[in-house]
């Protein structure tokens, strides 16, 4: 793949993964404590 489109695609993927995860983490921390804790506990609990 040529260098320019490769870099643009790479940058988009980084923004989509690292950027989105970072801002979502911040949004969850700023949301109400009860909902944030429940949301985290729901997905970190052992799968049944």
């Amino acid at each position: 793949m040529p260098e320019f489109p490769r870099k643009v695609l790479g940058l988009l993927l980084i923004l989509a993964a690292v950027g989105v995860a970072s801002w979502q983490a911040l949004a969850v921390s700023c949301s109400s404590p009860a909902s944030a804790a429940a949301e985290t506990a729901r997905h970190t609990a052992a799968p049944r």
């Binding site: 983490a25 949301e39 985290t40």
Partner: protein, 304 residues
């Protein structure tokens, strides 16, 4: 009011973080001079900036007593910052590798950095955000792929050199060049303690000439024996003289010492220029003779 103060504190902390990271990424003046084509700091800064919200999230989660998000964000942030730092070091190593004519295969720092960023992103998405582990894994994978595409891979092969006998002398050449580079850096470091502008300028010229000679030796490192002799005798001698002068000069100013040092520097500069010329003409035999002449001259002056 408290919210405004908190916002100002967070913005100040982010500004300080950006300033510190940027100055670290730019590196020392010597490092920038030895690698002319450094990667742009913005490339490295991007990853550090993207991770800042995770740090803020970890602090907020701690303040609100959310244990799991706090641990997830804190560990995720640590992994992301380590990964960003390794990616930057990988870019610098790649620039040095491209600049050098003889080089070992650098450590796969970009690959390790990308892996840590993928891991940090996945962990943040899982414990910090609360995504399903499968989704968090996808986040990590996309981050890893993005790093691989944006920053590229690590250099794979060493740039080797073989002697006339056919032996691989890459390690010896690299060790000699690294030692010479250290000596030049020590000369530049000591020259900062010399307050006289004229002597300072001469020292800078000597260091620049030494770097040029190193480049020429790197271009044609086949005769390692003579190259090593030049590097050890010349640069070690110059380093000791300059360090000794800088030390003595700080304690007591002496016009006689200054005059002697000026004379030595003048002869070193002249001989270095001749050496560069000789190397350009590939006259290795003359180079050896000149080394002997300078050695005995330095010995006569009591400097070796």
């Amino acid at each position: 009011m408290i919210r405004v103060l908190a916002l100002v504190a967070i913005l100040t902390a982010i500004a300080v973080l950006i300033f510190v990271v940027r100055s670290k990424l730019l590196g020392s003046r010597e490092e920038r001079r030895s690698i002319p084509r450094q990667p742009t700091p913005a490339t490295g800064l991007l990853m550090f900036l993207l991770t800042v919200p995770v740090l803020v999230a970890a602090v907020i989660a701690m303040a609100r007593g959310l244990l799991v998000p706090m641990i997830g964000n804190a560990v995720g942030y640590a992994l992301l910052v380590c990964g960003a730092w390794l990616l930057w070091r990988g870019l610098v190593a790649e620039a040095a590798y491209s600049h050098r004519l003889v080089a070992k295969t650098p450590w796969p720092l970009k690959a390790i950095g990308g892996g840590l960023i993928g891991l940090g992103t996945g962990l943040t998405a899982w414990l910090g955000v609360g995504h399903h582990p499968g989704i968090a894994f996808a986040f990590g994978l996309v981050a890893l792929l993005g790093c691989r595409l944006f920053y590229g891979g690590d250099p794979g092969e060493a740039k080797r050199v073989t002697a006339a006998s056919g032996l691989d002398t890459t390690d010896q050449v690299l060790a000699a060049l690294a030692q010479a580079e250290r000596s030049i850096a020590a000369v530049e470091q000591s020259s900062r303690d010399v307050r006289q502008p004229e002597l300072n300028q001469r020292l800078r010229r000597v260091a620049a000439l030494a770097r040029e000679i190193l480049t020429l030796l790197e271009e044609d490192p086949r005769d390692l024996r003579r190259a090593r002799k030049f590097l050890n005798v010349y640069l070690d001698g110059v380093q000791r003289v300059v360090e000794g002068y800088a030390r003595t000069h700080q304690r007591a100013a002496s016009p006689e010492l200054d005059a002697n040092f000026r004379r030595v520097l003048t002869s070193i500069e002249e001989v270095f220029q001749e050496q560069r010329q000789k190397l350009l003409e590939s006259d290795i035999m003359d180079l050896d003779v000149q080394i002997e002449v300078l050695t005995s001259q330095l010995k006569r002056e009591g400097l070796l």
